[in-house]
Structures are given as structure tokens and as C-alpha cells.
């Protein structure tokens, strides 16, 4: 510990802290652009420069550690002039018209220009003329808008272990992108959109489906139904000024109805169905190994997260047999909407348009996969991110905050609390165990409030074990079995867990993997800016939604009982196999 002075204020610090940390502690806001909490600071953008007494030049606050007796000025006239110049130079290379930019509402560059008091452009810079890359189903890259802050590089390589984006070339010609000047579809990209979530400008964003959805809504021939993923209700409010962690399920439902969707349904419904299918699949694999003494691919891996599916196909194809054959809840919903719902409501499936609202960009890719046409039609037609739904609500002139709370439509809008927690890392596992334990023992999961605490929270890799006792027929082969499970979120953590499993260092029966940090509540399509603090608030909101529901277990959902009785038969039955399950293949 030593003393430093920051803007004439004394402060104790040590050399593990940076000038930026010290400023934050003192309530001083130093502007930043390339800085991303949790990653090694790059000091690349120079927006955070400060004056340190005795130093010849200004220094980047994000990457300079404190030294004893440092005297720092964070907003001296010299610093302010330098910051303005840095920003003016960045702007001189930044191509784009702010009036027509989708990021106008949350562009960090624009906000900084305002904060630093820039008035008119002083420099007309040379521009790199580069084409927009729309090669993938989910993402659009506009390299002319890129300010080369490299946040996307940090998340893509360090957090996700994918490495699709890196700096290419050098000097003025530098671009941040896939190899050389190629398109994103020519390299391995799982389309998780974590790059989109951290980009300060509109250099990379989701491929918008708003226009397609509006066209479908306008068409009197079409019956347009919407499903919303569990994670939306804990984040959509942020698009309308609510603090993170406020549940807006009822208002969201009301808004979707006012937009003009013919039915407002819930991905939660098919999340409950996923538990029935995925839980049964796990029990079947366990029976094969434990009772029949034959081999089955264990651990079973969850398959709800499309980025994780892409990741397995590209990086760990040897584990494809371990992936649950269950489609994700989004795709189960789509396949049932154009079969079960069409039949039940007497509507021609050809006229049904299924729109999803997802916290995710990879869901756009998933909906467009060749495999996802088992209803005989494109199972899910369009996918909006949470952010896109926010824009659509505004576009339709709906005053979100003054909306009443409304209920979703039946039958595909009914769900249990187990479905809500799909949004959180650890939630799919907890939901599955609630059902599997009760189905095999006839007793409720004996944990406090039905939660499995070691699997919750933001630790990258979490594990738990549960002894199954008091089994009933035909599950006696599970008597005394210690069910071992693990949960990982963020693909870098997933890769580390997989390497350990491969090396025999860890052993499980069931593993849940979510592509994005925190699970779907931290998805690439969620409102910006998602920090760990925001993640925790959304996670807490989701748990409270679960706890507030009269039904907490998927197998208790009456709409699920009904769909098996009326349409599907039984879990893993022939119809389920055809509509709700799929197979994935190795990708180069």
C-alpha cells in the first residue's frame, strides 16, 4: 500500500491497481473505448490518457499500474485536448452516417464525442474502402465502421477460444476480421455474437429480421405467431430504461400482442418439453450402460445452445455422439407450431409464420440450418434478438412502460419455473434434475427451494453430484448411483472442461454447456452493455420468476401432459424422434 494523488485527492493504492482503477475508486470517470473489464488492457485507443507528474508524455490510464507518490491529473486542459484529438482522429477514419446507424441509440463513439464536447470535424481522413460482409446467417460485419479497438478479438479468442477475428495487415491498412480480407463464413465462427455484444460501434451486428417480420405481419394471408426465450423477460426492460434485473414478462406479452402477432407463445413451453425428452434420453443412456452393460456416449451434453453445437462440430467432433439429440427449445417449438398447433387450430401450416425472440445471434443461424425443416416447412422463419424486439416495439409506437401485464396464449404459452431457468447457466441442468430425480424416485428433489446451488452463479466451470436413493421400478438400476454433473459457460471454459474429460481427469454423466458467459441471459443478442454485475441481476430475476410460479417442474406442466396425450405419444417416441430430435455432423 502506498499513497497517490489523483486530482488533488489523496488515495491509498498498490501496484496491482491501474490508474483507471484508482479513478473509479475516487468517483472519477475516465473515458475509455478499447478497455474491456476482465481482459488484459491493450492501451490501443488512447482515449483514457491522463497526465502523470514528472512524465514526459501522457499515459494510458487503463494499462498503467500505480506507483508510490504518483500525482495524476485526469481532466487537465492538456489531457482534455489530447483526448479530443484522439477522438477526432478516430472519427476521421470512421465511415458512416450516424443518422442511419442502428447503433445511434447505444454507440459508444458517438456518446464519447458528445461527452468530450466535439463540435465540428477538423480532419477529413483517408478512408479504407472495404465491403460489408453478410456471408453468415447471423452476423453482418461493416469494417468501414471499425475503430480497431480489438474488444471483439479479446472475447472471440480469449473468452470463447474460437479465434475467428484478429488484426490483419498493418498500419493504416489494418482491419479487424477473419483471415486476410476473407468473409466470416470462410473461417470457423460459431456466430455466438459475443463480438456484437462488446463492439462499441456498428462494425459488427446481428443480421436484422425486423423488415421480414413486418412484411409477414402485413400479409393478411399469414398467421404469425411468436415465441420468446426465457432470457428475454429479464433483459428487455433495459431497452426501455428499466434497470437490469427487472422482469417484464407481462408487458412483453402485451407489447407482442399490440405489434400484431396472432398468438403470443413461449419458448418456455418447449423448454419444458426439452426436459422431458433430454431427461428421458439421459435415463436411456444410463440404462444402456448401468443395466444392460452396453456402451453409450456419456457424459451426455446439453444441446440447447447453437453456438456450442457449432463449436462441437468444428473443434470437438469426437464428442458429437455425446450431444443430446434433442433440438433446442426454439427448434422444437417451430417443428410443433407447424404440425401440432396447425392441426389443433385448423390452420394451414403453409400460412403459419414462426417468429422467435432470442437473446442470441446464433439462433438465426440455427433456424436456417438444413436440418431444421422436419415439419415439412422451415420450422422457424425469423429470429429477432432482444435488441431487435426493443426496436420493433418502438417502431410500432408502443409506450412500453405504460403497458398492462398480460398472459401468454394457450397451449404453447404455458410453462413451469423449470423452463424459466434455462436462461441461466446451470438452469437446464437443474431443471433436468428436478424431473429426473422425481421420475425415478417418486420424490421431489430434496434440495432447498428445488435449487442446486453449486451449479448457479458465474464460476466458469461448476460441478455437483447427487445420490439417487429410494428408486422405484423400472429405475432400480439407478439405486445408490451417484449422479455426477457439470456445467460450463463461455466456450473457453467449455473447451477446458472437455480437455479434462478427454484426459480422464473429470468424469460425469451429464454436462450442460452454454456458449455465452452467464448462459442465455448474457447472450450476444441482449441489450448492451452486459457486465458481470448485469449478468448477476438478470440471473436473480430469472430465479425469482421460477420461484414465483405455481408449477416448478417440467413434467407437471399440463400443456406438456396434453401434447404427449394428444399428439406426441411418449418421450423418445416415434413422433418425438421425427420432430424433436436431430443429428449433427463434423465440420471442417
Amino acid at each position: 500500500m502506498f499513497e497517490i494523488t489523483i486530482n488533488d485527492k489523496k488515495l491509498n493504492g498498490d501496484d496491482s491497481m491501474t490508474i483507471l482503477d484508482a479513478a473509479e475508486m475516487s468517483g472519477i470517470k475516465i473515458p475509455t473505448l478499447c478497455f474491456l473489464k476482465g481482459f488484459t488492457p491493450l492501451g490501443a485507443c488512447r482515449v483514457c490518457v491522463v497526465e502523470v507528474e514528472g512524465a514526459n508524455t501522457l499515459t494510458a490510464a487503463c494499462s498503467t499500474p500505480l506507483r508510490a507518490d504518483m500525482v495524476i491529473k485526469t481532466h487537465s486542459p492538456r489531457v482534455q485536448r489530447a483526448r479530443q484529438s484522439v477522438l477526432e482522429l478516430l472519427l476521421s477514419e470512421h465511415e458512416g452516417d450516424c443518422k442511419f446507424c442502428s447503433r445511434s441509440d447505444d454507440c459508444e463513439l458517438q456518446a464519447l464525442a458528445l461527452e468530450l464536447g466535439l463540435e465540428a470535424p477538423r480532419f477529413e481522413g483517408e478512408k479504407n474502402h472495404l465491403k460489408t460482409d453478410s456471408s453468415t446467417a447471423a452476423l453482418v460485419r461493416d469494417p468501414e465502421k471499425c475503430i480497431k479497438c480489438r474488444r471483439c478479438v479479446a472475447v472471440c479468442s480469449q473468452r470463447q477460444g474460437v479465434g475467428a477475428l484478429f488484426p490483419q495487415y498493418r498500419g493504416f491498412a489494418t482491419t479487424i476480421g477473419p483471415a486476410f480480407h476473407s468473409d466470416l463464413d470462410s473461417v470457423t465462427c460459431v456466430q455466438c455474437g459475443q463480438c456484437v455484444a462488446v463492439c462499441p460501434v456498428e462494425a459488427i451486428s446481428e443480421k436484422s429480421h425486423i423488415a421480414d417480420v413486418l412484411r409477414a405481419l402485413e400479409d393478411p394471408e399469414k398467421h404469425v405467431i411468436v415465441q420468446t426465450a426465457p432470457a428475454i423477460r429479464a433483459a428487455l426492460g433495459e431497452c426501455f430504461g428499466y434497470p437490469p434485473g427487472v422482469l417484464v414478462t407481462g408487458k412483453m406479452t402485451a407489447a407482442l400482442r399490440r405489434i400484431g402477432f396472432n398468438k403470443v407463445f413461449d419458448t418456455n413451453f418447449s423448454a419444458d418439453l426439452t426436459i422431458m425428452e433430454e431427461g428421458s434420453e439421459l435415463l436411456q443412456r444410463l440404462r444402456t450402460v448401468l443395466e444392460e452393460g452396453k456402451s453409450a456416449a456419456l457424459p451426455q451434453f446439453s444441446s440447447c445452445s447453437p453456438g456450442w453445437i457449432n463449436f462441437t462440430e468444428h473443434f470437438f467432433p469426437e464428442y458429437i455422439p455425446n450431444l443430446s439429440t434433442c433440438k433446442s427449445p426454439q427448434q422444437m417449438f417451430g417443428a410443433l407450431a407447424k404440425t401440432y398447433y396447425a392441426q389443433k387450430s385448423g390452420i394451414d401450416p403453409d400460412k403459419i409464420v414462426v417468429v422467435s425472440v432470442m437473446p442470441c445471434t446464433a439462433k438465426k443461424f440455427e433456424a436456417a440450418r438444413d436440418e431444421m425443416c422436419d415439419s415439412g416447412f422451415r420450422d422457424v422463419d425469423y429470429v429477432l434478438t432482444t435488441r431487435e424486439l426493443g426496436k420493433l416495439i418502438r417502431l410500432q409506437g408502443i409506450d412500453f412502460t405504460s403497458l398492462p401485464d398480460e398472459e401468454m396464449d394457450v397451449p404453447m404459452g404455458l410453462s413451469s419455473g423449470a423452463a424459466d431457468i434455462f436462461a441461466n447457466s446451470g438452469g437446464v441442468m437443474e431443471a433436468a434434475i428436478r424431473t429426473v430425480y422425481e421420475l425415478t424416485t417418486g420424490k421431489e428433489l430434496p434440495t432447498e427451494n428445488l435449487h442446486i446451488t453449486p451449479l448457479a452463479g458465474l464460476d466458469g466451470i461448476k460441478e455437483a453430484s447427487l445420490r439417487i436413493e429410494g428408486t422405484k421400478s423400472p429405475w432400480n438400476f439407478l439405486e445408490g448411483v451417484e449422479l455426477k454433473v457439470a456445467v460450463a459457460h463461455g466456450l473457453g471454459n467449455a473447451a477446458a472442461l472437455l480437455e479434462d474429460i478427454k484426459a480422464g481427469k473429470r468424469n460425469y454423466h451429464f454436462v450442460e454447456i452454454m456458449t455465452c458467459p452467464g448462459g442465455c441471459i448474457g447472450g450476444g443478442g441482449q441489450p448492451r452493455f452486459t457486465t458481470d454485475e448485469v449478468r448477476e441481476k438478470r440471473i436473480a430475476a430469472i430465479y425469482s420468476e421460477d420461484e414465483g410460479k405455481p408449477l416448478r417442474k417440467s413434467h407437471e406442466n399440463p400443456a406438456i401432459t396434453e401434447i404427449y396425450a394428444e399428439f406426441l405419444g411418449e418421450p423418445l417416441g416415434e413422433k418425438s424422434h421425427h420432430l424433436l430430435h436431430t443429428q449433427y455432423t463434423r465440420k471442417e
Binding site: G163, A164, F166, Q168, G177, P178, A179, F180, V187
Partner: protein
């Protein structure tokens, strides 16, 4: 004169060569650059196929490797001529006439930077300091350094390379097919 890069191997031989290069160098720290250098020295240039092979063998993203290749002017993803002329445009060479040397070479060879003459004899590249600033301006022809070069002396400087090539048996000259130059 330095050896001619072997450009005649087929794909299987190239794969084996890359495997050997990666195996012998991969354990040292910062192995990527020495591997890329060795691969380019052996194969003449770094093709997409070669880079993807290196990416797989090192378990390193292709975009990261291309970032290194495109950063350093030394690396080329296009087939080169028999002699690569690199004109240093580092600060010292630049102020002592490196730029004029480059312009004169463009005129003599009738090519731009990064291109190769029609007879596949010379390729023209720019270097960023060879660490011989006291000898500025400097240019390199393959591994040979030429110091204090004057634009007026360039034609004479290139003459021996041209004549040596003429005197050699034609089947030893580098074969660069259009296929390679993708």
C-alpha cells in the same frame, strides 16, 4: 547465389514437409514466425493450403496466423520470382534515397511492389529496416545485401543475376504455374 525455392513438389510432399517443419520447431517459444519462415523458404510462398495446414498442426486459429503473415512484409502469399529484391524503406534508407531506388526498380522491371516480372526472374518487395542503417540505402536480392546503392547503378547491379540465369539450364529455373498463383 542462394538456392531456388522448391516449387515443384506435389501436395502430399508439401504436407510432409510442413509436418516436418512444424515438428522440429513447434516446441520453442514464439514458434509461429520461425515456422512460417522455414515454410516460405522451402515452398517459395505461403499458400492458403499451407497456412491452413500450419493452423491445424499448431492448433492456432487461421485468422491469427494470417494476421502475422499479413503484418510482416517478409511473408508472401503469392509465388515469387527466382530473385526477390527487397528495397529497405526504413527511416535511414528512406531519407538516403530508398524511395528513389524503388521507383527506379519499378521502371527497370516494369512491375509494382508485390509483383513478379513476366520471365519469373524478379519479384519486388519493400523491407522495413534490415538492421544495416549505416550502409543506407540498402537493398537485398534474396539473401545478399547491397549497400549504398545508387539508382544509376541499378541496371549494372541486376546484370549478373540476369546473365547467370541465361547461362543455366532452363529446366532448373523455377516453375511457377498459374495454378500456384491463386
Amino acid at each position: 547465389m542462394t538456392s531456388t525455392p522448391a516449387l515443384h513438389q506435389n501436395s502430399a510432399e508439401q504436407q510432409e514437409l510442413l509436418h516436418n517443419i512444424v515438428d522440429s520447431l513447434k516446441d520453442q517459444e514464439g514458434a509461429l514466425i520461425p515456422i512460417l519462415q522455414a515454410a516460405q523458404d522451402s515452398l517459395g510462398f505461403l499458400s492458403t493450403e499451407s497456412l491452413k495446414t500450419i493452423s491445424k498442426l499448431l492448433n492456432m486459429p487461421y485468422s491469427e496466423i494470417s494476421g502475422v503473415v499479413s503484418f510482416y512484409s517478409y511473408f508472401t502469399t503469392m509465388p515469387r520470382g527466382r530473385y526477390t529484391i527487397r528495397v529497405c524503406l526504413g527511416t535511414a534508407c528512406y531519407v538516403r534515397g530508398g524511395k528513389q531506388l524503388l521507383e527506379e526498380l519499378k521502371k527497370i522491371l516494369q512491375i509494382e511492389v508485390g509483383e513478379t516480372t513476366e520471365d519469373k526472374l524478379f519479384s519486388l518487395e519493400v523491407g522495413r529496416c534490415f538492421g544495416a542503417c549505416g550502409l543506407a540505402p540498402v537493398l537485398m536480392i534474396n539473401d545478399e545485401i547491397h549497400q549504398r546503392v545508387k539508382p544509376t547503378k541499378l541496371a549494372a547491379l541486376l546484370a549478373p543475376y540476369k546473365s547467370e540465369n541465361d547461362s543455366e539450364a532452363t529446366d532448373e529455373s523455377p516453375k511457377i504455374s498459374q495454378e500456384d498463383a491463386q
